[in-house]
Symmetry: C2
Subunit: 168 residues, 2 copies
DNA sequence: GCTTTTCCAGACGAATTTGGTCTGGTTCGC
DNA sequence: GCGAACCAGACCAAATTCGTCTGGAAAAGC
C-alpha cells in the first residue's frame, strides 16, 4: 500500500525540471545532484516518462531532458502511472480478467471506490502545484556544506498542505 | 499500490463469519473451505484480527473463531489496518520520522491527502456493507461440483456497487 | 569520420516483501 | 489424559523493489 521509490523520484525529478524555464535541457546528473537521487536509477525512470510523452530527451553532448509540456498540463496521476503502471488496488481492477471471487464482489467494489478517490486526488494535482513549495534536498545539503556551521534553515517555510481544488 | 492477499483474505474470512448468527463459533477449516483460502494462512490472519479485538478465538474441541462485535460496528479500515498495519502511502507518513525531503514537501502533502481519502472510504464501509451481496467462492464451487452439469448460476445477482454514503 | 558526450535498452543482482507452510506448543472439552 | 482446536514463531520460496552495470546508438564538435 505504498508508492514506489521510482514514482517518488520521478515526481521529484520532474519538479526539478519544472523549476526551470520551459524547454531547458538538463542532464540526468544535474537533476540527481539537486534532488539526491541515485544517478542511473533516475535515468531509467526518465526513460519511462519520455515514452509517456511527459519529457523529451536529447542525446549527445549538450543533451539531457526537458519537459515536453508546461507544468500545469502534467498531472501527478500521469506521472505516477507512467512509472508504476495503472493504479490498481487489486488484480481484478487492473486488467479485466474478471474478479477471482464470484458474483458482485463487495470487496472489489470497495477497493474500486478507494482507488477512484486516489486517482481523483492525483488527477487534479499538477506538476506546477507540486513545484511551488518544494525545496530540493540536494540543494539544501549543498548549502549546508558550504556554510559548514550555523545550520540555519535555507528559507522560512510554512508547511501549507496542497489545497483541494474548488468543487467542480 | 495494492492491497495484500492477507488483507483480502481477512475481509473475506470475516464476511463468512458475519453471514452467521452473531457469536457462532466457526473453525478455520470451515471458513477456508467456504472462501477458498489456504488453511494455515487464514489462521495467521485471524490471529491478527483476534489481537485487534475484531474476532474472538476459542481453543480446544468445539473451538474456533467468532465475531467479537456486530458487523455494523467493524469497519474495513479496522480490518485492513489490523492485518497490514497502518495505511501509509509513504515512509514519512507512517511513523513520524519526518520527511526525508526537506521543507514543506509537496509530494508528501499530496500522498497524505490521497491516503486520507482511502482511509475515509474504508472507514465508512462496515463489515455488514461487505457481507450483503458477496457470494463466497468456495460455496459456488461446491454447488458446481454437486450439480456437475447445467452450470446454472447459483443465484441471480445484479452487480450493484457499494453505494457512497450520503454527503455528511 | 573520429571522438566525446549524452541518452537507451536490457541484463543482472541484492534486499525486501509477500504469501504461505510447518512445527512444537498451549488450552479446552470430554 | 487425550484429542481437537488455536497460538506463536521459525522457516522458506517466489515475486517485487531498488537499484547497478554494460554495451550500444545518436548527436555535436573537431
Amino acid at each position: 500500500m505504498q508508492i514506489t521509490r521510482a514514482a517518488e523520484y520521478g515526481v521529484l525529478g520532474l519538479t526539478a525540471l519544472a523549476r526551470r524555464p520551459l524547454g531547458e535541457v538538463v542532464m540526468i546528473e544535474t537533476l540527481c545532484a539537486e534532488e539526491d537521487i541515485p544517478n542511473s536509477f533516475l535515468g531509467k525512470i526518465l526513460q519511462s516518462l519520455a515514452k509517456a510523452g511527459i519529457v523529451k530527451s536529447a542525446r549527445g553532448s549538450g543533451g539531457g531532458f526537458s519537459l515536453a509540456r508546461t507544468p500545469t498540463e502534467v498531472t501527478a496521476l500521469e506521472i505516477i502511472e507512467a512509472i508504476e503502471g495503472p493504479i490498481a488496488f487489486q488484480r481484478c481492477l487492473d486488467e479485466d480478467l474478471g474478479c477471482e471471487h464470484s458474483g458482485g464482489c463487495a470487496l472489489c467494489a470497495l477497493l474500486s471506490e478507494a482507488q477512484e478517490q486516489v486517482r481523483e486526488v492525483f488527477g487534479r494535482t499538477t506538476l506546477s502545484d507540486l513545484t511551488g513549495r518544494h525545496i530540493p534536498n540536494g540543494l539544501v545539503r549543498q548549502a549546508r556544506n558550504r556554510s559548514s556551521e550555523t545550520a540555519a534553515p535555507v528559507m522560512p517555510l510554512d508547511p501549507v498542505p496542497v489545497q483541494p481544488a474548488p468543487a467542480s
